[in-house]
């Protein structure tokens, strides 16, 4: 069945792959972006070229008013959001000793506050639909920890606790709330690491390579589908066997 899907941070990397996947699965996709308008429109064009339906929607998802108006725009164009993918995320890596308050706050606001704001905004529509899928992106950093990422890992671990709580709140209403925790995936975010570190990481992965954004999107596609109707409050780790 075709649903309305919102992918936050859908213009690049994993978000882009998720948007393309959900569109390929027959859903109408709202591609949220904060600043990368050109990339977001690129994703929309790619979806439309393949016969899908999509729309780029701008909003800083850490801002309550911006989130409210984004949901208004999506409802006007597509209808109520049935599938919410909380993907928007940033890194501001540094050792804790050197990590400034701004680096902490920015990461928590974009990665965690956005999950709360968007999930809350989507909930009314999902209750009315009597169907819903909330899928949030955590990270292997949030599960195993990663030096230099105290802020990022904290935000990503918090998403897991948040999702388990909300899963219990709304399970009886046919709304599932799950988490996907990617390992090292080839994106702009991991490109920053440099090829030496990337090779080192690949050696620690059971499957011997970094992951592709499409491989994360496939997990999201599953959790968004009716096949996953009996899966809630879970964290699906897609890391090629990095954290075993």
């Amino acid at each position: 069945m075709s649903r309305v899907a919102l992918v936050t941070g859908g213009s690049r990397g994993i978000g882009r792959a998720i948007a393309l996947r959900l569109a390929a699965d027959g859903h109408q996709v709202a591609v949220n972006y904060a600043a990368s308008a050109a990339s977001a429109h690129d994703v929309v064009e790619a979806i439309v070229a393949r016969g899908g339906t999509a729309r780029a929607v701008q909003a800083d998802v850490g801002d309550a008013d911006a989130v409210a108006s984004m949901f208004g725009e999506i409802e006007d164009h597509f209808g109520r959001v049935g599938i919410l993918v909380n993907n928007a995320g940033i890194t501001r890596d540094d050792l804790l000793l050197r990590m400034g308050v701004d680096a902490w706050d920015e990461v928590i606001e974009t990665n965690l506050r956005s999950v709360y704001l968007c999930s809350r905004a989507a909930m009314r529509g999902m209750l009315r639909l009597k169907w819903g899928r909330i899928i949030s992106m955590s990270s292997i950093s949030g599960i195993s920890g990663n030096p230099g990422q105290a802020n990022y890992a904290a935000s990503k671990a918090a998403i897991i606790g948040f999702s388990k709580s909300v899963a219990r709140e709304v399970g009886s209403r046919n709304i599932t709330v799950n988490v996907v925790a990617p390992g090292f995936i080839e994106t702009d975010m991991t490109d920053k690491l440099g090829s030496e570190i990337a090779e080192e990481v690949a050696q620690r992965v059971a499957l011997g390579r970094l992951g592709r954004p499409e491989e994360i999107a496939a997990a999201v596609g599953y959790l968004a589908s009716d096949d996953a109707a009996y899966v809630t409050g879970q964290t699906l780790v897609v890391d090629g066997g990095l954290a075993l």
Partner: protein, 81 residues
């Protein structure tokens, strides 16, 4: 719309949307204690009221509602000012 009409429509919503026994619904019945409606059910009921009566019920006011009669009062005030 007068109070009787609001009451009757609200009763229908409780029966249809939340599956409550019609006989159990009285003005003094408390949603959570008497009708076994959980807190999320109260939110759903208020959303159904908004849809059906075309009124807007702010969250702060919604939180005050505990009985069927109070829900009728609120809709009546919203509709008739």
């Amino acid at each position: 719309m007068d109070r009787t009409e609001i009451e009757s429509k609200l009763t229908d919503l409780l029966v249809d949307e939340l599956g409550i026994e019609r006989d159990a619904i009285t003005s003094n019945a408390k949603f959570e204690e008497d009708l076994d409606v959980d807190s999320l059910g109260v939110v759903e009921l208020l959303m159904a009221l908004e849809d059906n009566f075309g009124v807007k019920i702010p969250d702060e006011e919604a939180e005050q509602i505990t009985t069927v009669g109070e829900a009728v009062d609120l809709v009546e005030i919203k509709l008739n000012g």
